[in-house]
Symmetry: none
Subunit: 145 residues, 2 copies
DNA sequence: CTTGGTCAGGGGTCAG
DNA sequence: CTGACCCCTGACCAA
């Protein structure tokens, strides 16, 4: 069993730990450079820092970054990466215990951001479960993304 | 080396293995919008959808589309693009998932999914056993009469 | 339970 | 308008 498969199993067994990307709100694939982000924002941040790329905003520098338009303005995307706390030298943490991101020190801006992100997601889930019929998981396709 | 360059090299070395464009039969440059097509048909389809262009056939709507005359009738060219299955899915850039080539309507979707998963694991195991195997002299040769 | 590399494929460019 | 060429993106993998 590969690491990525193990990762999938881990996330499936711990759905409550799934957090959306702090930059673009797509489902995150874990913590990258200190922040929960998707694969895209992880790679984008890595490329930008590694090759020392610099971008210019065609608009007023206030572009909203979400899953659909995250590739439209590189300047504002990278600005948001930095704003939410992504750092190349982020200290690698050990295996987090359950809910560790809730009990971590609230002095950390990053953990506050994680908390807000989680609460936002919970609210969205709650609202969705009210307006839509609950969907039972299909055992046959439970490992599908 | 870019993908198209690599493909050209591959095509040069393996001319009989090239997959042709499903629309015009020119050598394809890979899979585009779900179908193996050439660069021309890829760009034509993209432009048509993006700018919502519509065309009219000067003939009876049955023009044959091949490499030589593909630019002669835009209406029939686009019609063939759609017919062979080209479509712009949800806007998603980056590498497609290995499961993205499954046909959504197929009743064997789940078994196809399992097959891809199995093949992936087999490939990984095979690769691991090759790179990890110690290079020993073949003992079978010596014991043979 | 992350990091860095890989590369298929989306999409822009610009002579022709 | 066309399409050869090239950059950018992000899913997957090895480690
Ligand atoms: Zn993201
Ligand atoms: Zn911007
Ligand atoms: Zn073609
Ligand atoms: Zn026609």
């Amino acid at each position: 069993m590969s690491w990525s498969q193990l990762h999938e199993v881990y996330w499936y067994d711990n759905p409550e730990k799934t957090i959306d990307c702090a930059v673009c709100n797509a489902p995150s694939s874990g913590r990258h450079y200190g922040v929960f982000t998707c694969e895209g924002c992880k790679c984008f941040f890595n490329r930008t820092v590694r090759y020392k790329l610099s971008y210019t905003c065609e608009s007023s520098g206030n572009c909203r970054i979400d899953r659909q338009n995250r590739t439209q303005c590189q300047h504002c995307r990278f600005e948001k990466c930095v704003k939410v706390g992504m750092r190349r030298d982020a200290i690698r943490r050990g295996r987090p215990t359950k809910y560790s991101y809730l009990s971590r020190s609230s002095k950390s801006f990053t953990s506050q951001y994680d908390l807000i992100t989680l609460l936002t997601q919970l609210e969205r889930s709650a609202r969705a479960s009210i307006t839509a019929a609950p969907k039972l998981p299909d055992p046959g396709v439970q490992s599908m993304p």
